[in-house]
């Protein structure tokens, strides 16, 4: 931050703190506002999707940097200062989205821990959808639960059945759960149900469908959950 700048009102201080252009690796200029928009949609998608989705932890980290920078500058603002309190309220809103997003993912990791951590070729590679911190957490969680099952039950059972079948007999998400989605990019001839003819998805349309029918469209951003 430019030290020698003559100390104007708070908003002057804050001008240079908001790094409005955040360069993404594709070199495309993405503003902080756009990153926040994507994070909010990632939060809603994660909230409604039955299974763990791709991690958007880079959006979280970007927003946390923005908040940290903003909070640094706010230290100088007086308690009652109007603009300072508006910035703090916005920060609290962004923190809520981040916290809720990470908590929803953590709950899914806990609920489907074995299913996520047990690699098998005929299902989604969930491990690649975990952030580094989530991966550490998931491994510890599985070990902790398995140790509990062993110490309280499995170790005292006859030899031929004293292990948990982590491929089959563990909680798994219902990929046919019904949910609401909205169309972001128009799609041609999508089969929403084997009983019906495929239909076109028009931009802005809202549909009530089963998750499995649109999971790939969700992944490549053609639809969003609402």
């Amino acid at each position: 931050m430019a030290e020698n700048k003559e100390r104007g009102s708070l908003s002057d201080i804050l001008n240079d703190s908001v790094d409005s252009e955040i360069n993404e690796d594709e070199g495309e200029e993405v503003t902080a506002a756009e990153v926040l928009e994507r994070l909010e949609q990632a939060w809603l998608n994660e909230k409604f999707a039955p299974e763990l989705l791709e991690s958007k932890v880079e959006l979280v980290e970007c927003m946390l940097d923005q908040i940290k920078e903003m909070e640094e500058n706010l230290k100088e603002a007086g308690k009652g200062d109007l603009v300072g309190s508006l910035h703090r309220l916005e920060i609290q809103r962004i923190r809520y989205v981040i916290s809720s997003y990470l908590k929803i993912r953590l709950k899914k990791i806990e609920k489907y821990a074995f299913h996520i951590m047990e690699p098998s070729n005929d299902k989604t590679d969930y491990i690649s959808r975990l952030s580094a911190e989530e991966h550490v957490y998931a491994k510890e969680y599985c070990k902790n639960v398995e140790d509990l099952l062993k110490s309280l039950a499995l170790d005292d059972m006859p030899p031929n059945i004293n292990s948990l079948d982590k491929k089959k007999s563990v909680p798994q998400p219902n990929l046919d759960s019904y949910l609401f989605m909205k169309v972001l990019q128009p799609q041609e001839q999508v089969e929403l149900d084997p009983d019906d003819q495929p239909t076109d998805l028009e931009e802005g349309a809202q549909h009530l469908v089963r998750y499995s029918v649109i999971s790939s469209l969700l992944e490549n951003g053609a639809v969003a959950l609402t």
Partner: protein, 184 residues
Amino acid sequence: MDPSEVDFLSEKQHVKILPNFKEGRIFLISGDLGPFEPGLTAEVPLWMAVNLKQRKKCRIIPPDWMNIGQLEERKDEEKEREYFTEMPSKSYLELASLLLKSARDDIPHADEVQTLIKDIWEIRMAKLRKSINIMMQEKETHARLDNLTHLEINSIRPFLTSALDRMHILRCNVVENPSTGTDY
């Protein structure tokens, strides 16, 4: 989703305010606002407008559709049309109730506006139940609901998704045990 989260999302939409303070541009993370001049309208997110109003720093200008004339027209149209009409915003009810709660003095004929909005909401909810009834009767397995707003979707979500999830299981049973056409 918890209704307070639906509210939270609706507070992102912008509304016009009449500030009584002077301030230069404000660079929020979610975008730039201002400058603010007493008596000059400015556009801010709803959460900021309500906060400024609570601190008596502005008056809020209700959106142009939030007046008796327009709302009566919408109410009649909603009554006539079989399907859902498009609402002025996907969070019209949250916006209206938040303004009616924290900036009532800024809304002319607030009581009538409130009842009209409530009526519109009730007509649409009755329509929603009717269309679900038909959906179940026809055993439809997906539906298009373009003009449904966030709060309407949210109020029907718990029932509809859990009911249809169980129906799906029963439907798979039927599909996996097709009758081979022999008469019973």
